[in-house]
Structure formats: structure tokens, C-alpha cells
Symmetry: C3
Subunit: 134 residues, 3 copies
Amino acid sequence: MGDSLSLVLFSGTDDKLNAAAVLVAGAAAMGRKVHVFLQYWALDAFRADRVLKDHGVAPEAGPEGAAAFQRHGGLHWGEILRQAKDIGEVEIQACSLSMDLLHLEESDLDPLVDGVQGVTSFYLDAGEGRIVFI
Amino acid sequence: MGDSLSLVLFSGTDDKLNAAAVLVAGAAAMGRKVHVFLQYWALDAFRADRVLKDHGVAPEAGPEGAAAFQRHGGLHWGEILRQAKDIGEVEIQACSLSMDLLHLEESDLDPLVDGVQGVTSFYLDAGEGRIVFI
Amino acid sequence: MGDSLSLVLFSGTDDKLNAAAVLVAGAAAMGRKVHVFLQYWALDAFRADRVLKDHGVAPEAGPEGAAAFQRHGGLHWGEILRQAKDIGEVEIQACSLSMDLLHLEESDLDPLVDGVQGVTSFYLDAGEGRIVFI
């Protein structure tokens, strides 16, 4: 199957983005190539003017879970991804359809994002590797 | 791993179903066999009397995101799936356990759905291919 | 790709945990090795003092869906997983980062959970198999 890992990020809450960033960083640290494809609310969270803002957590977290998440004091998912890009081969692409939906230009996005692509290019990049939807 | 793609659809909001439909259509356009397995709220969205109704978007979209989604004017996910079935090999099956849970008969479902199967049949159809949960 | 299946469980609502348990049990019944990795709200749901409590359903279920889920009277996901462990090779590991986030010790968890591991160990266990995020 090859060792590459492709993640389609759909959700834009900080808890899911944090979980995704940890999966990306772990794979990168193990020398695996990682492709990230940003759709919808995940893409929105990568806007340059929003990346460090509070994106909330899943409603199911409840007040107790939300407080635990706020308190944990770990690295921000953006920083985890930045480090993953430093140590490994991690490419982050925005979905072109979602760019249109949210009326975004590439210049609106945080420099973590490497470019914009369509779903066919995403599949070609993913190759024989795994695909995970978050 | 083979080139087939299997999607377990659990969520029934229009944003996730739209994302799923785009992934299905892209794979079908590339000549890949696609299996879709409908569970819970996704299955509910494929009821003949509901498929074209408004299924809302994920709560995290917020009012701004929900408005952007309403405005975008792209094809409905049902229509994207219909076209994907025309151009490629796309099979859509309802999960038998979810049919029982929601008290549905096969005649309650939109003709997009090809049949009802259990999880073991789903795994057999998925074969060596990828499985994505949405 | 091998026949093993690895599930990263993130969500802790009873509908998603039930869907996950059915996928685990089906794979186990077919003789496949299954790895489950518990993060965030899914991990919280496996606390010994909470596993049998009501964890709610996804907001999109709505009152009608929530009532259907309550009524269906099937086995609890914890019991489905217990049976899956009896008939097949199913290992359930808690994510060490999520344990820290939620201030949990291994003794706080239901005996369904076999241990605590980091993301790198999870990838090593997953090997060449499929990874599904729920």
C-alpha cells in the first residue's frame, strides 16, 4: 500500500484539528509522506487571519470537556503542523471547490498551506496510500 | 490495495454529504469502483421523501458558514451522486441495522440506493480497497 | 495491504460509538485483527464510571432521530465490543496525549481498554492495514 498517509480535513474545530495534527506529526516523524486536503470548515480555519483564533470544540465535548481542552496547554495545532513540515514531508493543499464556496483566494490562507488543488489531483497525490477523513 | 474506494456515510448534514459526493464523483471519474454504505443519519437523508429537503450543516459552520453553503449554488449532492453513477461504477447500499433502527423499508429510499446489506457484505464488497468514514 | 483494520475513535456520542462497534465486530467476526485507538471524547466515554451512561447522539439526529436511537433496544456498544473481543482479535488502546488532556489514569478506564499508547505505537500496530477515523 505504500507508506503515505492522506488526510481529508473537513472539520474546523480545534479538538479535531489537534487530533489531525498529532496524526500528521506522528506519521511525518516516522518518515512517511503526508498529504493534507482542506475542505469546508477546516479550510476556513486555515485563513491567515483566523488560524490562531479560537475555533471551539465539538458540541459533544460539553463544558467539562471544553474546559479540559482549554487548560491542557499543549502546542496549537498550527504549530504542531509547522514542526511536522520541518521534520518530514508534509504537503497541505486547499480544495478548489471549497475555496470557491468560501470565496477565498490563496493569499487569504496561512503560509502553512502549500497550494490549491482539485479532488482528482488529491487522489493522484494520495496514490496507493491510505485516506483518512476527519 | 486495488483502486476501489469504500465510503461509510454516517452523517446526514448537507455539507458532509456534499463533501462525500465530491469524493465519490472524483473517484468514479478516475475509473475507480466506489462502494457507499449508508448508516444512521446519512441513511435517513436518502429517504425518497427527504433527499431534496434541507438537511442543515454541521453546527460548527456557524451562521456565516451556513449562509456561504446556501449561497454557493452548486449541484445538490444527490445530483452529483446521480451523475457519478452515470459515468462510473458506483454502488450505494443501505446498512441493514440502520434500516431497522429507523424503521425503513427499501421502498422508502430514493432510487439512488441500490439495496440493503449487512456489514459483512460491505466488507466483502470493499475487498482490499480503502475505507473512509464520513 | 493485509487484512487488519485500525479505528481511531474521536467522537464519544452513543450513535458513533455504536457504528464503530458494529464495524469492529463485523471485522472481528471475519477473522480480521482490529486495533482501536481512543482519543478525546471517545476516550472519555470509556471511563469505568461512564461507559454505561447516556452519551447522547450527534446534534444532527434531532429529536426524532434521538428517540429512534433510544428505542431501538439493541446491544450497548460496550457489550458489542466485549463480544467482539471474545470472538476475535480486538485490541483497544487509549491515546497517551488524550489521557493527559483528560487527567486520566489507566485505572480510571473500563477493562475493555487494554492499555495506553502513543501515536507512533498506534501506527506500528496498524502496520500496512486500513485506518478509519470516527
